[in-house]
Amino acid sequence: MTQTSQHPGPDTINAYIDGELPADERQYAQQHLLACHSCTLRVLSATQLKAATARAGHCFAPTPEVVARLTARLHAEPVAVARVHSFRPVAWGSLAAAVLLAVSLLGWNQLRHSNTLAAELLDQHLAVLSDSAAPQVISSDRHTVKPWFQGRLPFSFNLPEPDALPPDTILKGADLTYFDGQPAALLIFTVHKHQVTVLLSHQPNDLVLTGIPKARAGFTIHSATASHLHIIAVSDVNPAELDLLITALARAQG
């Protein structure tokens, strides 16, 4: 691409979302995207497909027994070559390593899961930002938004009175979505001119929230728990203002 007026081809779009474009071409692409709605949608679509592929593609995890066997065989390998160790220390060493590995894998899996959830949150937010993804409920009236979820969610929640929201914060609409495989309420707010996506989910596992990165791709991700309700917000608004909104939502749960 040599001019910002030319639409980038598929290879350029892919290299752009994969972070593989040279700096100058990336700058051209960004300038073009600022002015071209259709290409912005193509990039958004490609980004979502990439994130969805990443989640779907990582679906086969080895069991702890498989990891233990692989580790043990790996430990046994140099013994066969060098013939310097007796079996017993190797066996104990293998066992200890397998236990250590299993423990570290638990932590690794948690980290991986947290990153996946952060990507899922960001996807939800980017989809909301897209013009083509209008929410099911477009209303700033909490008495319209909350009842819409009756029968759609396995839990209920409260929305704060408009005057209990932070300054210049407006409820714009809502939608039903899925987060971490569970149904969740998706609320859309604006704070000044920034759009905020809030997910309300009811999950027994508090670990879901721990470890989720506080920022991703320039967006802030903050969360809180109130009355067993997970409140997670994504936006590019000032993080302090995002916290004010989360606090107002948490307070409304009583």
Binding site: P10, S45, L49, H58, E77
Partner: protein
């Protein structure tokens, strides 16, 4: 020259964190738990024996994934899979047009993960492989090129084709759910 024990320890430091990724990739290749474990095991054994040839300044993950892939292609299952035609060997049919669904149509609903898994299963193995390396393993094009032993341009065209094919496979699923 490092001792066998320290060499083995260095190898393990690098290889152990990659077990889940290697196993996941192996499973996509062979589609069977026992075979995936055997494939990873064989690749690890080969990699350990060849560890002296690994250059510390290079990417270990790409190096061991290449060994995993080569191990697969020398297996019975892999030999059958390698008979797939490399379409990029025919550049006249490779030119990618944007004739597929529009971006608006392909905005992905996140609750359709099962459809994406199904579509990935239906992709040509060579196209699925490049997407797994790029999107799941988050590898750079140059590392993917090293693993697949192809030029970077081929990696780019394969990724384009893979994503286009994936969109086309996913689209009927989404339409059906609307």
């Amino acid at each position: 020259m490092p001792s066998i024990a320290s060499r083995s320890a260095a190898f393990e430091d690098l290889a152990l964190p990659l077990f889940p990724s290697l196993y996941n990739h192996a499973f996509w290749l062979v589609r069977n738990e026992a075979e995936a474990e055997d494939l990873v095991q064989e690749a690890l054994t080969k990699a350990l024996r060849a560890f002296d040839s690994f250059k510390p300044s290079t990417n270990f993950k790409a190096w061991i994934f290449r060994i995993l892939r080569n191990t697969f292609f020398t297996s019975r299952t892999g030999i059958a899979a390698s008979r797939t035609i490399f379409i990029e060997d025919h550049p006249d049919v490779l030119h990618t047009h944007d004739a597929g669904p529009s971006p608006e149509e392909t905005l992905i609903r996140l609750d359709n993960q099962a459809a994406i898994v199904t579509a990935l299963e239906q992709l040509q193995p060579l196209l699925r492989e490049v997407l797994l390396l790029c999107d799941v393993e988050e590898m750079k094009y140059k590392d993917i090129a090293l693993i697949l032993d192809v030029p970077i341009g081929t990696v780019m065209s394969r990724i384009s084709r893979a994503r286009q094919a994936l969109r086309e496979l996913i689209q009927p699923e989404f339409r059906g759910n609307q």
